[in-house]
């Protein structure tokens, strides 16, 4: 009301001042509310992780108490000591590292070679093959689980790591090829033309000119591949079949015995923390690339 009268008496200026102040106030409150929402949201998102870590420091009695115990009264390291003494867990860890490293390396090299063919070389039939590759993204992978199992069974690969690693060497994952190709298309053409005139072969241009320039995209692709292989559950369950060969997710999931009401939760959660640790490290190292990579693959989809 006052502002209205002021405006009638002396023009626009006073209104602008009160209006401006009111606006600033409103904006401040709004921002505070926004921050509250953001903080609450990230707490909810991180909750399972926080709960995992808290539980891993509790005693067996605290974790299985009929009433929820929020914080460990006296944080224990026994769960970690126990799980690190478990030979099966350590072996599962080594198995996961072995399978993941081999699969990621093989896939990365082959995927980048194929992406090079689709982006930097003009060859007859390129568009046909590329379209074929894109259309394989529509085939759900379950359509392939059953027949691949039969093939690997015939090859005597059940109970070995071959089904988890070897298919990757054949540029497994059309989405990864697509992402790298999109990135390689952005690099200037003059690069390879100059090298070509100097007599460099395609192999050389790919390895020593294009690949070093693709580091951000390669970081994204290797993070995706790492996360995928480290988390893989279905295929290890199908193909490994003996405890000796289990990878981490299969082994840690098998620690829970559904027949019992109490579980050694602190030990299980310590195993979970140790399983999640490499994921967290890789994620924080690569997150900058990762996020632009997701947007790159999504924007053209």
């Amino acid at each position: 009301m006052q502002a209205h009268e002021a405006q009638q008496q002396s023009g626009v200026a006073p209104l602008a001042v009160t209006d401006g102040r009111w606006r600033m106030w409103q904006e401040r409150v709004e921002r505070a509310v926004l921050y509250l929402f953001l903080i609450a949201g990230s707490l909810v998102m991180a909750l399972p992780l926080i709960w995992m870590i808290l539980t891993s420091f509790k005693t067996f009695e605290e974790a299985n108490a009929p009433q929820l115990v929020w914080f460990p009264a006296d944080p224990q390291l026994t769960a970690y000591v126990e799980i690190l003494k478990d030979a099966d867990f350590l072996r599962a860890y080594a198995n996961s590292v072995f399978v993941t490293a081999l699969a990621v390396l093989g896939t990365l090299v082959s995927v980048s070679a194929v992406a090079y063919a689709f982006s930097r070389i003009e060859w007859p039939g390129r568009n046909v093959v590329f379209f074929l590759m894109l259309s394989t993204m529509m085939i759900p992978f379950q359509a392939l689980i059953v027949p691949q199992y039969v093939f690997f069974n015939k090859a005597g690969w059940i109970g070995t790591y071959n089904p988890l690693t070897i298919p990757g060497y054949f540029a497994g994952g059309a989405a990864m090829v697509f992402l790298l190709r999109q990135f390689m298309l952005q690099l200037p053409r003059e690069l390879d033309e100059a090298a070509f005139l100097d007599g460099a072969s395609h192999l050389r241009i790919w390895w020593s000119i294009i690949l070093p320039l693709c580091r951000p995209a390669l970081a994204t692709v290797s993070t995706f591949l790492f996360v995928g292989h480290w988390n893989a559950l279905l295929q290890p369950i199908i193909y490994l079949q003996t405890t000796k060969l289990y990878t981490l997710p299969v082994y840690v999931a098998s620690l829970v015995n559904p027949q019992q009401t109490t579980q050694p939760w602190p030990t299980i959660m310590a195993a979970s923390v140790l399983t999640a640790l490499p994921l967290l490290v890789v994620f924080f190292l690569a997150q900058r690339y990762l996020i632009s990579g997701i947007v790159l693959s999504g924007s053209k989809g």
């Binding site: 953001l38 379950q142 059953v146 070995t160 070897i166 279905l234 999931a253 979970s272 999640a276 994921l279």
Partner: protein, 380 residues
Amino acid sequence: MLESYGYTLVWSVGTVVFIIASSVALGWIARLIVRWRGGSTIHQQNAFAGYAFAAPWIVGFVIFVLAPVVASLYWSFTVYRLPNPPQWVGVQNYVRLLTDDPNFRAALVNTFYFVLFGLPAQLVVALLLAILLNQKLHGERFFRTAFYLPVILGLNAAVLLSWVLMFNANNGFINTLLRTLSKKSTLFNLLLRAFIYVNESLNAFFLGVQSGNFTLFEKTISAFPAAHRVPLWLQSPLWTKTSIVLLLVWSCGSMMLIYLAALNSIPPEFYEAAEVDGATRWQRFWKITLPLISPATFYNLIVGMIAIIQMFEQPYVLLRDSPTVAQSSYTVVFYLWRATFRFNEIGYGAAISWILTLIILVITYFQFRLQDRWVQYDLR
């Protein structure tokens, strides 16, 4: 342990040699064809290099995609139990699946439930988080990272076990929180009871559709839950699907990133012009934001739907071995795994995967057909 590593390493080296050999062979054949057709030296060189570099994918496609697809189409018409040879039975597997398999029907109904409730919940939360992040606040990167974290961790069986702990109906984190809050506030308690009522009626209805028996539905709908009732999460078939929907919402980070990129690409002039014209916030959201991010919604819808249909880790970790509730949260892939690998029915599994493929293709086709109605690709 070391023997199995060595075995795979030897095979890896062999595979690499095989790939290089087939690259050279494929490139060589391509060059011969181009030369025979009278192409120039440059063309011949490019044909060689192109096919040689693309060879890993081409060879892999034939071995790991084309051959399996053809083989599984054949096996889906057979009874096939390893190590016995397949026996042709015609469409028997498909008939049994569609008319006489309550487990498969349960899996289909469950998947439909997840697509119907989980997917929209994911989309709404993802958009909400993206809008929050798009307000140009300090620490945007930190919050973005926090919101994306569940995508990295969420499919790891070891991390999912933490949810098993939190979902515990008696001493789990979630129910303890709900109990504490409803003791403090009568309003919250009433809301919780309403939520329990709606959720249980809805799930009882879906269980009725699965079994063809609606007595449970009638029972839940006629009784409003008592004040001390809590959600049973993983212990009751009325709650398992809700638990999985919660997990889906928790890991909506990739959708959020896609939305965030779409929001960033809207020119600010659009909003400024609308503000000058006196449009309210709601109007701006409905008339500018939503239409302009519709391509992102479309992408999220397709990718999210396929991800839900392919879901395996969540039901496996949360409900694998409890026979009373497992059926209430089977996804199609989970059932595929059970039927094929636990009961060694290769032919039947092949039929399941073909029906699944058909469903995905048909839905994707219709989504692409219908997108002209609501997806806005051109800004100008």
